[in-house]
């Protein structure tokens, strides 16, 4: 009975075009943001802030980026980590070489650089599709990492190619504690999620989906193939780039090119698939799932072996964790190929009818 749009009539298209047409949703989201911005920083301990929530938000942002490309525009990419790397290292350079610029503009410019790289490596998508394109994006993955290690300027000529993120100071306010870093990350992610939502529900988003669903028809009704595909790559890479910058500045603090391996790209693709292809919410759900699952498993096993007090060597435990992680993903894909977002939808449908059967 609680979750109902019954009795909420839309008298104007404006109302109907709100992000959350249903009142309960608006309330829920408002509450969620309130909790995320105020309650969490106050209550959560350092471990949760710096080891779980912050990375979760950053991965969610990257997932969002990849989702725009793969989920909405239908272009499969395995180069996500590379775009993140561009973001991280360029942000470092902007802060280093143009300190007057300020951190946030530096992040944005870093994102723009990532977008540029994205456009270059998006060009093949005009010719090739599917796994051929996916494997082609691997070229980006490997080339970018190689370039970062070769071009001394990018790492400010540090022998090992490792960079250390500078202090984050915005208008004289220093973001140094885990709580502050978390809040900064949250703010950026929230804003960018909103922008993404807007974009995806307006013309650009429709063009993306049109290209995804049937490119011939799309061009017949006048959607420019090239512009749309490249724009998708650009926007997606921009998001990944900013995520990369946050990865370096609010999460790890020090990054080496190896931090952005193909493994990371796959992880983020997982988040997209598990969360739900073509869903903003799904990006967050997927990120939460993939970030938390391994930690949850290891904590769980830790507790079990502690409780049982038996002497199983950790090699066994770790491998079991890995196996279960993989198995769960397979299992999940089998039971709900459309991802968590779909489950959430179904739950909502049920909730609408509840407590009456229909």
């Amino acid at each position: 009975m609680l979750y109902r749009e019954a009795g909420q009539f839309k008298s104007t298209y404006a109302e109907d075009q709100q992000i959350f047409p249903i009142r309960q949703d608006r309330i829920a989201v408002a509450a969620l943001l309130l909790v995320a911005f105020i309650v969490v920083p106050l209550l959560a301990n350092q471990y949760w802030l710096s080891a779980i929530l912050t990375p979760f938000l950053i991965f969610a942002l990257a997932t969002l980026g990849l989702n725009i490309l793969t989920g909405y525009a239908g272009q499969l990419s395995l180069g996500t980590a590379a775009f993140m790397a561009v973001g991280a290292f360029m942000a470092y350079n902007f802060v280093l070489r143009m300190p007057w610029l300020g951190v946030i503009p530096s992040f944005i410019l870093a994102g723009v650089c990532a977008a540029a790289v994205g456009i270059v490596f998006g060009l093949p998508s005009l010719r090739i599709k599917g796994f051929y394109l996916a494997v082609a994006t691997l070229a980006c993955q490997f080339f970018v990492l190689w370039a970062i290690q070769r071009i001394g300027w990018i790492t400010n000529y540090s022998a090992s190619g490792v960079i250390t993120a500078q202090k984050i100071v915005i208008l004289g306010y220093v973001f140094d504690t885990p709580a502050r870093k978390y809040v900064l990350t949250l703010a950026i992610v929230a804003v960018m999620a909103l922008l993404a939502k807007n974009l995806m529900r307006s013309e650009t988003g429709r063009a993306f989906m049109a290209v995804r669903d049937m490119d011939v028809a799309a061009s017949v009704i006048g959607i420019p193939m090239m512009k749309t595909k490249l724009l998708a790559f650009a926007i997606s890479s921009f998001y990944c780039g900013v995520a990369g910058a946050l990865f370096a500045y609010t999460y790890l603090g020090t990054v080496e090119p190896e931090a952005f391996t193909l493994d990371l790209s796959f992880r983020i693709l997982f988040m997209v698939i598990i969360g739900g292809v073509g869903s903003i919410l799904g990006s967050f759900l997927g990120a939460a799932f993939i970030v938390l699952l391994p930690i949850f498993l290891s904590v769980l096993f830790g507790a079990i072996s502690h409780a049982s007090g038996m002497e199983i060597s950790h090699a066994v435990v770790s491998n079991l964790e890995l196996i279960i992680f993989g198995a769960l993903i397979v299992f999940f894909l089998i039971v709900e190929p459309h991802g968590l977002a779909r489950l959430w939808q179904i739950a909502k449908e049920k909730l609408r009818l509840w407590p009456f059967p229909h």
């Binding site: 969620l32 909790v35 995320a36 969490v40 301990n45 350092q46 471990y47 949760w48 710096s50 080891a51 779980i52 929530l53 990375p55 979760f56 969610a60 190689w146 290690q149 022998a159 090992s160 190619g161 490792v162 250390t164 500078q166 202090k167 999460y251 790890l252 603090g253 020090t254 990054v255 080496e256 090119p257 190896e258 931090a259 493994d263 919410l281 967050f284 759900l285 990120a287 939460a288 799932f289 938390l292 391994p294 930690i295 949850f296 290891s298 904590v299 769980l300 830790g302 507790a303 502690h306 409780a307 060597s313 950790h314 090699a315 066994v316 435990v317 770790s318 491998n319 964790e321 890995l322």
Partner: protein
């Protein structure tokens, strides 16, 4: 999205509070190593040695002055993010939080430099990590102990000099540096360049892309250059692949000089007979015929305890390296107790003092049952390295044979580079160096 997060939060916190039953007279040491993935061999071996030694102390002498070591294992997957998570999870563990941390990954070490400093938890990277952190004035909580990549490298050139019959003979010699194309691999490029100038040998750096399981091209280049020596700065599969490729290219293995991350049994066994004669550096030797290892066998494995499933790995280079890690851990705690109270649980801050004033001379090594097993150590506020020497061992097809005594590094060359690099870091981060004369 928070629903799922919070839901898990409860379970998770329940999870580790179970492992966190606070008791007095305990010294908590996190065991964040890696048991899975491409490098599992090194991770599991080192973890085994490290954990076994502390448990042996608990069994043999009831810990350090009655303070028993407790630990919590955490899988890092050799991955920065996971490593940071492990650190955050274990750092506040009762009674006194993490004693110190062995990140066992240069990447993770980098990620922990600021966190450790802020949390007052020493980050100890033995034979890896950030070289210039050896300048304790700028990195009070970071301890790249015993020796670092730059020191090792000077020792290596010395060794080559010895083999060639004098450093002056290096002039005009051709040396190839075959390195893993990563932060780790590139760490030694500057010092090599400097030495090439110093001794006038011709240096060629050849990169091997990660993971390094394909080196045809690189060895064809080497074959073309016909170098007098090849320095193998490898990691994981790159090592056996290099040795096999060398054989295929007809390059003599006893002219290949590996670093200590290329000098374990795991690096040569996969290469089979091709590895005969291959030489590698080491800051700890292999073998079980040291009292310290014998004690572990006696007090743990004889009683059916012990971390290793595969007993044959006890005494391997990696296992023994783990033992060295834990000797440092326990001795730092012991030292700290002499100042902050015998039989007490030490905090990270106190252990930091312990590390900084740690001295392990030959007599003490003998007491530890580790004579010749590791080198004497003298750490100070100024010098967080404290040793710097390496031995060289040669693979005879069955096992590693030590072929030199400890060869000291060329601190005259290395130290200024360290200080310069550290100063650079201090400038970037706006750190004012400690005045070591004021430390006690």
């Amino acid at each position: 999205m928070k629903h799922s997060t919070l839901a898990l939060a409860i379970v998770a916190s329940a999870g580790f509070s179970a492992g966190a039953l606070a008791q007095a007279k305990e010294q908590f040491v996190p065991h964040s190593y890696y048991w899975v993935g491409p490098f599992a061999a090194s991770g599991s071996g080192i973890a085994g040695g490290a954990i076994d030694y502390l448990n042996m102390l608990n069994e043999r002498d009831g810990g350090v002055n009655g303070v028993k070591f407790t630990g919590e294992k955490c899988e890092t997957e050799y991955n920065n993010a996971r490593g940071v998570e492990c650190y955050e999870r274990t750092k506040k563990h009762p009674p006194t939080g993490a004693t110190l941390v062995h990140p066992l990954s240069t990447g993770i070490t980098y990620s922990l430099i600021e966190k450790g400093t802020a949390d007052k938890i020493p980050i100890v990277s033995v034979g890896y990590g950030r070289t210039d952190a050896a300048d304790g004035r700028i990195f009070p909580y970071i301890f790249p102990l015993i020796t670092n990549y730059w020191s090792q490298n000077t020792a290596k050139i010395k060794f080559i000099g010895m083999r060639e019959g004098g450093m002056d003979k290096l002039k005009g010699k051709k040396i190839v540096n075959l390195y893993h194309d990563s932060a780790y691999g590139k760490e030694t490029l500057p010092v090599l360049e400097a030495q090439a100038k110093m001794y006038g040998f011709a240096l060629t750096n050849i990169a091997v892309p990660n993971p390094g399981n394909e080196q045809q091209a690189q060895w064809l280049q080497i074959r073309q250059i016909q170098p007098d020596w090849v320095i193998l700065r490898g990691w994981g599969v790159m090592n056996p692949t290099a040795i096999k490729a060398a054989q295929r290219a007809g390059y003599p293995r006893d002219k290949i000089l590996g670093v200590w991350w290329s000098g374990s049994e795991e690096d040569v066994i996969p290469a089979g007979d091709a590895a005969k004669g291959y030489i590698a550096a080491a800051f700890n030797v292999s073998g079980t015929n040291y009292p310290v290892i014998q004690d572990i066998m006696k007090h743990l494995y004889a009683k059916g305890k012990g971390e290793m499933d595969d007993k044959s790995r006890i005494g391997s280079a990696y296992y023994n390296r783990g033992v060295v890690f834990s000797i440092i851990t326990s001795e730092a705690v012991r030292k700290a107790q002499t100042r902050f109270g015998k039989g007490q649980s030490m905090t990270g801050e106190q252990v930091r003092w312990g590390l900084e004033n740690l001295t392990i001379d030959d007599a003490y090594l003998k007491k530890l049952g580790a004579t010749g097993f590791m080198q004497p150590l003298k750490v100070s506020c100024l010098d967080h390295e404290g040793g710097g020497a390496v031995k060289f061992q040669q693979w005879d097809g069955k096992q590693w044979k030590v072929i030199t005594d400890w060869i000291a590094s060329d601190q005259k060359l290395v130290r200024p580079m360290i200080e310069a690099s550290a100063a650079q870091y201090a400038k970037e981060k706006g750190i004012t160096p400690r005045d070591c004369s004021k430390e006690n």
